[in-house]
């Protein structure tokens, strides 16, 4: 029971038949999501905020697959998000008037929404493949610069394409998104990340992170694994972008800059490179922090100026935070461990170990 995931799989004693294990979490999640949607449907602000949080979780968890588990360094995640957002947005816009015959409008809309999301995700994954293949063959640093460049290329492309609304952005995308849909994808990305981490593929990724030369010598197709991790990560970034496009009334190139990429990197590093739950906690914390401060200052009666200062110092503070974190605790809050590995002793917990 030492390594969460991998070894527990070998337990034959579990009460759940193997055939069901794959789908069970999904079956469990659906009613929870339905419940969440039902309770939150009436509060647009909670819906909006939770959607933003959810999208950031998807971004952080998916980036963690590349930056955390595989030890590569991508700093262009916002670029893949942009691809997903624009492709899904354009798809939805062009399918706006179309309904699937024989089903209610709401259902048809949601089906088309999922289709648009998948289109965005697949395009992002394709871009991930095209960008990753040359750069992942090279030494790690090159990935950083190439992903950064990719983000810029996407921005320029969007700015010059009439169909994407150029600099003004794309508005009028049907707002199909809901808390349930966002968190369904959050759930999926977490499930995927955890299952990769616990599988033989995940072990190969960890091996690459630990020692690329040794991994290669032990028969791990390091380039192949890196590219695959990158593709999956880009896919979910694309999905996150697609969701984003369906609850933010307008998407424009300014939303997917280098700064956005860095925000995601900060989330992953803060949570601990390699820790999925760490990425989740950091994403929730960093997304809600500004809103929390807003409420705090609002409650204190400080209008404008103080809250504004806080917003202003956010970016330099992120920078200093990164430096201090790397110096004091380079493994991030959780390191490679998961939330349940660091819970207090009196809670049921697993033995320490890497997935």
């Amino acid at each position: 029971m030492a390594t969460p995931g991998a070894t527990t799989l070998s337990d034959d004693t579990g009460p759940i038949p193997p055939a069901l294990r794959g789908l069970l979490p999904v079956l469990l999640a659906l009613p929870v999501l339905a419940l969440a949607e039902w309770t939150l449907g009436a509060s647009p602000f909670a819906t909006y905020l939770l959607s933003v949080v959810g999208v950031n979780i998807i971004l952080a968890v998916s980036l963690n697959i590349v930056n955390g588990m595989t030890g590569q360094f991508s700093i262009g995640h916002a670029g893949f998000m942009a691809v997903g957002a624009y492709i899904a947005g354009v798809t939805s816009l062009s399918l706006k008037e179309i309904g699937i015959p024989g089903v209610p409008v709401a259902v048809s809309d949601q089906l088309l929404f999922v289709e648009a999301l998948l289109a965005g995700g697949v395009c992002a994954a394709l871009c991930g493949f095209l960008v990753g293949l040359p750069s992942l063959r090279l030494r790690g640093d090159y990935l950083a610069i190439v992903t950064l460049g990719f983000g810029e290329i996407i921005r320029v492309f969007v700015q010059n394409t009439e169909a994407f609304g150029r600099a003004l952005g794309l508005s009028g995308i049907p707002q199909y998104s809901s808390v349930a849909m966002v968190y369904f994808w959050v759930f999926l990305v977490v499930l995927v990340a955890r299952r990769i981490a616990g599988s033989s593929h995940g072990r190969s990724l960890w091996a690459i992170r630990e020692d690329e030369v040794a991994a290669e010598a032990m028969g791990v197709d390091t380039t192949g694994y890196k590219v695959r991790a990158f593709v999956i990560s880009s896919f979910f970034a694309g999905i996150a972008g697609g969701l984003f496009a369906h609850f933010v009334p307008i998407i424009n190139p300014g939303s997917f800059t280098f700064v956005k990429s860095m925000e995601i990197v900060v989330m992953v590093v803060l949570g601990g490179l390699g820790s999925t739950t760490g990425a989740i906690v950091a994403a929730i914390f960093l997304t809600l922090l500004p809103e929390g401060l807003r409420s705090l200052f609002g409650a204190m009666g400080a209008e404008g100026s103080l809250a504004q200062k806080v917003d202003q110092i956010r970016m330099p503070v992120y920078g200093v935070l990164l430096v201090v974190l790397m110096l004091a605790r380079p493994q991030g809050l959780f390191g490679t461990r998961e939330l349940w590995d660091v819970l207090p002793r009196w809670l049921p917990r697993k033995k320490k170990g890497l997935t």
């Binding site: 029971m1 969460p4 527990t8 799989l9 759940i16 294990r21 069970l24 979490p25 469990l28 999640a29 929870v32 419940l35 969440a36 309770t39 939150l40 009436a42 509060s43 647009p44 602000f45 909670a46 909006y48 905020l49 939770l50 933003v52 949080v53 700015q159 010059n160 150029r166 600099a167 003004l168 952005g169 508005s171 707002q175 759930f187 977490v190 499930l191 955890r194 616990g198 933010v248 009334p249 307008i250 998407i251 424009n252 190139p253 300014g254 939303s255 999925t276 739950t277 989740i280 809103e291 807003r294 609002g298 209008e303 404008g304 809250a307 504004q308 917003d311 939330l339 349940w340 697993k350």
Partner: protein, 402 residues
């Protein structure tokens, strides 16, 4: 045990939901028609206290367009101060709640949602950038809360619905003004265009200018582009120079225009530059130095306007802001706030539909940046002024009516 992960997450999500719910006063609705709450909740959002009316403002206080957002905030603050000093509206004081959107539309959408649902504002003012205004308009329209944008000039903003208004003219008009001025006043035949490809505003002005200038019999020699944040425009200017234009239309922001002017002169391009309201800033003179002298731009108002109303505004603004001369954005924001206050006074109550109708009836309202009459498309019908830059200040040249 590994099934713990998803379960934990699900539990976390429920927890988060629960927390979120708690912070919200129960039973309060939003004015979304789809809400399953009693219809009574729809009518009038209740202000925070009984003796105040809360207005909402979203602006870019940080990020690329921070100077615009800050000017707007100051203008609105001044208008509210005056209204409150005069006894407020319907016996109540006015308060404005300002949120920063970091010049990002998704943040603007979040902020406006917060204003509508948490702060229960009766009316929303903002934004400068059209992308952000579009995002806000969508939310405000859906919630049935009126919104007045002081200075978003993109035509699509007010097309979002009948709750969205503006107190400035739109991009096509500004492009038209400069084309007319260049052709008729300056008598130019050949003009080159240098646009900011990162800004929808710049692209919008370019399009109309090109079309109008050609219609008036002029010739556009070439259209080149740069991106906000660039500092070297020599390549574009060299290409422009080859076409030997008699003027260059640069509908960008002051932060780049000043440097463009210097480099144009450096390359031996001595022709006048022309632009739009994005030029309006004290910084233009510092960045452009003497190179910017002899250039023209269209604007919403001129500080030289001898009208006592304008001069009083300028004096009051200076007094409140360390002597800073109000730019057009401050003037427009001041006007927008006063239009809003005027509508609040006229409206029977502060509900969304009542306010909407009151704003829509605004006619011949004397603003500092021109007389405001809202047309059927909820845009202000106003004339524009053309200013000339010389010796570190602007001077009024002419007014062009629609």
């Amino acid at each position: 045990m590994r099934r713990l992960a998803p379960m934990l997450l699900a539990a976390l999500a429920v927890l988060a939901v629960a927390c979120e719910k708690k912070t919200q006063p129960t039973g309060e609705g939003n004015s979304q028609p789809a809400a399953q709450l009693p219809a009574t909740a729809q009518g009038g959002p209740v202000p925070a206290g009984n003796d105040v009316i809360v207005l909402g403002e979203v602006g870019a206080l940080t990020g690329g367009q921070a100077t615009f957002g800050i000017s707007s905030r100051n203008g609105i603050a001044l208008a509210l101060k005056e209204a409150n000093a005069a006894g407020g509206v319907k016996g109540k004081k006015l308060v404005v709640r300002v949120y920063d959107d970091q010049s990002k539309p998704e943040e603007a959408a979040q902020a406006v949602t917060r204003l509508i649902t948490q702060d229960k504002v009766v009316l929303i003012l903002g934004e400068v950038a059209s992308s952000s205004s579009l995002a806000m308009a969508e939310k405000a329209q859906a919630a049935g809360v009126p919104m007045i944008t002081p200075s978003s000039t993109n035509p699509t903003v007010t097309e979002k619905g009948d709750y969205i208004f503006r107190v400035c003219f739109i991009d096509p008009f500004q492009g038209f003004v400069m084309a007319k001025f260049a052709r008729e006043n300056l008598k130019l035949n050949k003009v080159a265009v240098l646009q900011d490809n990162k800004s929808a505003y710049s692209i919008g002005l370019t399009e109309v200018f090109r079309q109008k200038f050609a219609e008036l019999g002029g010739k556009i020699t070439v259209t080149e582009s740069y991106s906000q944040g660039d500092t070297d425009y020599r390549a574009q200017l060299t290409a422009i120079k080859k076409t030997q234009p008699e003027g260059i239309y640069v509908p960008g922001y002051y932060s780049e225009v000043g440097v463009i002017a210097r480099q144009a002169r450096e390359l031996g391009l001595k022709v006048p530059l022309m632009g739009g309201d994005g030029w309006d800033s004290e910084k233009l003179f510092e960045l452009g130095g003497s190179a910017i002298d002899g250039s023209y731009f269209s604007n919403h108002y001129s500080p030289d306007n001898p009208d006592p109303r304008v001069q009083k505004f300028i004096a009051d603004y200076k007094a409140d802001n360390n002597g800073a001369v109000p730019d057009a954005l401050a003037a427009l924001a001041y006007d927008a706030a006063r239009v809003a206050i005027d509508a609040l006074k006229r409206a029977p109550d502060t509900s969304g539909p009542a306010l909407r109708d009151a704003i829509a009836q605004t006619k011949d309202f004397p603003g500092v940046a021109g007389v405001i009459t809202l047309d059927a498309k909820r845009n202000a019908v106003k004339s524009a002024v053309v200013l000339k830059v010389a010796d570190g200040k602007t001077s009024y040249v002419t007014t062009i009516a629609p």
